[in-house]
């Protein structure tokens, strides 16, 4: 399981990285950040990039900072950066609660937040977070930077809106109001495995009822998305078991599982129902 040959590039600035990528993209060039998803695919020879653009040397991609009302996560920020809650507040708590579900400790020291988004595995926790919070993804190419809303970013199974010569330079997550509650639930066969289902619930309580609900489900469809029907079932209701059950049921009905075999699709809906309810119950 040795990778096939490739030409290796190691730019040291963002401009260089973008320039090199524009040259090699048409010749099957790929970006190498953490490599925790790409290199296994190369070992199995299901990925055969002729060029690898290693961006680990680009200092600017290490940015992890508040910028305005957003949390900016640069292309090379590792999963491990979120082991401690950063930034302060509900967003940081959410990210550190989620990160421990991602693979395992050594994978998290190398793998990157943006790399997960670029790879777009349907069972990626960060993809669920980005979709549920309506993150903005910043793509960079020789044509310049552009901002892509999360709802426009995921296009299909492991397919994103990034052009082949575009590099995901940054993800921007909205800083959440201080009274935001977040709950995350994931079910997998073993600890650290790809999830069979995951759900993220985010809401505030205003005058005793749920406001600004967000409910996202991942690992069921081709990509994670907000479940509007579930959110509608929560808005304006007290945060209580009956509301949570209604939201869970609405999510289960609205989902269109990627695995279309009847028995597996039914199981996925069951799991989604459970996951949404448990995420809501866990929200703090």
């Amino acid at each position: 399981m040795k990778p096939a040959r490739f030409t290796y590039h190691a730019p040291v600035t963002e401009d260089d990285a973008v320039a090199v990528l524009s040259q090699v993209a048409a010749h099957d060039g790929r970006v190498l950040a953490g490599g925790q998803s790409l290199v296994p695919a190369m070992a199995l020879r299901v990925a055969l990039p002729a060029h690898l653009v290693d961006i680990n040397g680009v200092a600017d991609f290490g940015v992890l900072a508040v910028e305005g009302s957003e949390w900016a996560v640069g292309a090379c920020v590792r999963h491990a950066a979120f082991h401690r809650p950063v930034p302060d507040g509900p967003l940081g708590r959410l990210l550190s609660a989620v990160v421990r579900h991602i693979a395992s400790y050594p994978v998290r020291t190398r793998g990157t937040f943006c790399g997960s988004l670029a790879h777009a595995d349907p069972a990626s926790e960060w993809c669920l977070v980005a979709a549920t919070l309506d993150a903005t993804l910043i793509a960079n190419s020789v044509r310049g930077r552009r901002a892509i809303a999360a709802r426009d970013y995921f296009r299909g199974w492991m397919a994103t809106a990034l052009a082949p010569d575009e590099l995901l330079a940054q993800a921007r997550l909205p800083l959440l109001p201080a009274d935001t509650r977040c709950g995350f639930y994931e079910f997998s066969r073993r600890a650290g495995d790809f999830a069979l289902v995951m759900a993220l619930a985010v809401y505030r309580i205003v005058d005793g009822v749920i406001a600004d609900p967000r409910v996202g489900v991942g690992a069921v469809e081709d990509y994670p998305r907000r479940m509007r029907a579930a959110e509608a079932a929560l808005a304006g209701r007290a945060p209580a078991p009956d509301a949570f059950r209604a939201a869970a049921e609405a999510a289960a009905q609205a989902l269109d599982p990627a695995d279309t075999r009847p028995e597996t699709a039914a199981y996925k809906r069951d799991l989604a129902r459970t996951a949404v309810r448990r995420a809501l119950e866990a929200a703090r």
């Binding site: 399981m1 040795k2 199981y267």
Partner: protein
């Protein structure tokens, strides 16, 4: 040659054997190199100018080979040669180890596919290149054109065609005693089950590897990376290459786990030897993980339609089983042993007055199967214990009680079942099944745990208890022999014909030798896996080493001891041998601390050839010891589990797990517990996680560790151990039984039993592994 002690009695403990080391959890002699990175596994073995071999494997489950085009591969710089079946036409198919089952010869695997491919992963061609990366590049360029044929993917459907004139059911093994039909007619109740075990296997953490070198100067082929059965493999390889066994040497270095699947003779082992011979350069082959999961022996997959007739008290009157064993595409070295073993062991530790089994040996277009830890017994225990639970449920009898009613009592030991299993008779040599169950119940706190579980269930938790009883086989003979030698420095060497895959062979044999001889175990070096150091060897499998090699070592060490005492008494110490003892390598007078003494080193020096022969003695402080045993020692035990089921997801968590186990006599309790714990983890894999799945085209779905799931530290519970030495084996002087397999044997059954209890549905689990989706399906159907 040992005289067999009278049946049913424990032999007196050898009065000259001081138990300074046997029975103690001494640290392992193996460990220091392994914790410092000085282990030498196959991948770490390299020779100058070596070529790397890469196997081109079939991507089709079944088909005829139309053409193989290697031209592009050969054009790649660094690719030295490409071979197909035509290049190895003179090499016969891989034979079985001795088997008495007739009619299996046509189903042997050729070293490279000839005319037909029969499983995805079958070796079709070989590439030889300057390095492993290039070899893989070249292998990808070899174009294999196959005309696909419909695959057989189920062992219990109509048999297919293996080749013109041969169907895919090579044999049916039938066993039968007592009057089964009469028993069913007279039965108070009959339970009938349809049970299935998923395909899974040992999957050691080190993949296979073989490095061959032809020493042209001496015309000797050397093969490194050997394991399990070096001498037998040497003999097979030599025969297949038309050479004398004396011109083939196998070397075992460090081995990353065996579990029964590594060390059988595979095509690659023979091919590297032939390649080294023909290409004139050392040839190195290291399997990758994807290959391993589709090429190394699979195991376990069977489907049983079984019924039991019982009386009103739940006592078994008869068992009747018809099952299908999914052997995969070919019959490999182990022949039909796993199926035969299953068939013979289904009655377990119970009195079964009448029994009938029809075992259908079926070939399918999947990776061929072989022996995997507790082969046949993981399967048979699942079947038997599901039956006992079904009987309990049907008659409203407690699951523990029904087992007690059916156990063979201690007073009936040794108990001969009128069956042959793996070609030896089945005699349960010693055992107190009911006694061990009582101890296990007490240690586990069965009654208190059940009360606690019921209390939790009342609050809505799906939590349950399960148990499973089992009998194992160990100490496979028929013989073993070692040579023990003390050199002029007092160091002791035991040369064995066994193999080590990490289980602690060197330590256990050293402990036995040390006690018999009177030295510190740390002065004993154990040699294994070297066909050039000892003429006969029988390898490592079937938990045989402690029993067979241990007993042979004990015998040899006693002979060396006797030689040393005889010479010391006659020539050096003016005493009789009875006056003397050996303590820490020094021969001393008993009860006379101040008397003169002499060391074993001095004795060894006194036995150098000149000195020895002058005094009419044989040179060398050395002796051979043999142990013969045509029956297997049968350890036994109980597994108990508490599991919690998540009714919404189908997830299963093991909260507690106990293994109670009779070891006969534990040489090193820490190592025994290590074997049990490791076996339990593998058993858990087979119960909940591991499966080689195939689609309807015969394409394997579990080809990486992302699909083939093995338990990790958060899945495996802390195992509680109850080691019992109540029933030493009467079949060898030290009372030993083997420990390697008892941790795994009953896990499938115990976990199934506990899951049934947790969800309140007796008999719910009929299929392993119990995946979350399957369990959820069971729960949904119940609603």
């Amino acid at each position: 040659m040992n005289a067999e002690p009278p049946r049913g009695t424990n032999p007196p403990r050898d009065p000259t054997a001081d138990s300074r080391f046997i029975g103690r959890s001494v640290p392992r002699l193996e460990d220091l190199p392994l914790v410092t990175g000085r282990g030498r596994y196959a991948a770490g073995i390299s020779f100058p100018h070596q070529l790397h071999m890469r196997v081109v494997r079939s991507a089709h489950a079944h088909g005829t080979i139309v053409a193989i085009d290697a031209s592009t591969a050969l054009a790649l710089p660094g690719c030295v040669a490409v071979w197909t079946a035509a290049d190895v036409a003179a090499v016969p198919p891989i034979d079985f180890r001795a088997t008495r089952v007739k009619g299996l010869e046509p189903y042997r695997q050729p070293v490279l596919a000839r005319e037909r491919v029969r499983y995805v992963g079958e070796p079709v061609a070989l590439v030889f290149a300057e390095d492993a990366y290039l070899a893989e590049d070249a292998a990808d360029l070899v174009a294999v054109e196959v005309k696909a044929l419909p695959p057989v993917v189920a062992a219990d459907q109509e048999p297919g065609v293996f080749m013109p004139g041969q169907g895919t059911e090579p044999t049916v093994i039938r066993k039968n005693y007592g009057n089964v039909d009469a028993a069913f007619r007279a039965a108070h109740a009959v339970v009938e089950l349809d049970l299935a075990l998923g395909r899974h296997s040992g999957v050691p953490l080190e993949t296979r590897g073989a490095i061959a070198r032809h020493d042209a100067a001496r015309d000797v082929i050397e093969l490194y990376g050997a394991s399990k059965r070096p001498h037998q493999n040497r003999d097979l390889i030599a025969a297949m290459l038309g050479r004398s066994p004396a011109t083939v040497h196998l070397y075992e270095s460090h081995v990353g786990g065996g579990f029964g699947v590594r060390g059988e003779l595979y095509p690659e082992d023979v091919l590297v030897c032939l390649a080294a011979l023909r290409l004139g350069r050392p040839v190195k082959w290291i399997e990758d993980r994807r290959e391993h999961l589709m090429a190394c022996n699979h195991s376990r997959e069977q489907r049983h339609r079984v019924r039991a007739a019982v009386d009103a008290g739940g006592r078994i009157l008869a068992i009747d089983d018809r099952f299908f064993h999914d052997q995969g595409a070919y019959v490999r070295t182990t022949g039909a042993r796993v199926m035969d073993g299953t068939a013979g062991m289904i009655p377990g530790p119970y009195r079964v007055p009448a029994y009938r089994v029809a075992a259908h040996f079926r070939l399918t277009n999947k990776t061929p199967a072989g022996t995997y830890r507790a082969p046949g017994r993981f399967e048979s225990t699942f079947v038997c214990e599901r039956l006992l639970d079904a009987v309990a449920a049907r008659l409203g009898i407690d699951r523990v009680e029904v087992r007690k009613r059916n156990f063979i009592p201690r007073t009936d030991m040794p108990y001969e079942r009128p069956l042959e299993v793996m070609e030896t008779g089945l005699v349960l040599d010693s055992g107190d099944y009911a006694g061990l169950l009582e101890k296990a119940l007490a240690r586990f706190g069965w009654d208190a745990t059940r009360a606690d579980v019921e209390r939790r269930r009342a609050t809505g938790e799906a939590v349950g208890l399960g148990l499973a009883c089992f009998v194992e086989k160990s100490g496979q003979g028929p013989v073993d022999g070692v040579r023990v030698t003390v050199d002029g420095t007092g160091a002791v060497e035991v040369v064995t014909g066994v193999a080590s895959m990490g289980q602690g062979v060197e330590t256990v044999i050293a402990q036995i030798c040390a006690d018999a001889l009177g030295v510190d175990y740390r002065r004993v070096r154990v040699v294994h896996g070297r066909t050039d150091r000892i003429e006969y060897g029988f390898g490592a499998f079937g938990s045989r080493i402690t029993v067979m090699t241990g007993s042979a070592t004990h015998a040899a060490a006693l002979k060396v001891r006797a030689k040393a005492l005889e010479l010391a008494a006659a020539d050096m110490l003016e005493a009789t041998p009875e006056d003397l003892d050996i303590v820490d390598g020094r021969i001393v007078r008993r009860n006379r601390a101040d008397a003169p003494s002499v060391t074993l080193a001095q004795i060894a020096k006194a036995l150098t050839p000149g000195a020895a022969i002058a005094k009419g003695r044989e040179p060398g402080l050395t002796a051979e010891g043999w142990f013969e045993n045509d029956h297997m020692a049968c350890p036994y035990g109980v597994h108990m589990a508490v599991v919690k089921v998540d009714r919404e997801t189908g997830g299963v968590k093991i909260e507690r797990y106990l293994v109670a186990f009779d070891i006969g006599r534990a040489v090193n309790p820490m190592l025994v517990e290590g074997q049990i714990a490791g076996g339990m983890a593998q058993g858990l894999g087979g119960a909940l996680f591991e499966e080689f799945a195939y689609d309807e085209n015969g394409t394997p779905q579990s080809v990486t560790f992302a699909d083939y799931l093995m338990p990790g530290a958060l899945e495996v519970p802390a195992v509680e151990f109850l080691l019992s030495e109540d029933a030493p084996s009467p079949l060898n002087p030290l009372g030993l039984k083997g420990a390697g397999e008892s941790g795994i044997t009953a896990v499938g059954a115990a976990v199934a039993s506990a899951i049934d209890d947790a969800i309140g549905m007796p008999g719910a689990v009929t299929r392993l592994p119990v995946t979350p989706q399957r369990l959820k399906d069971i729960l949904n159907r119940a609603r």
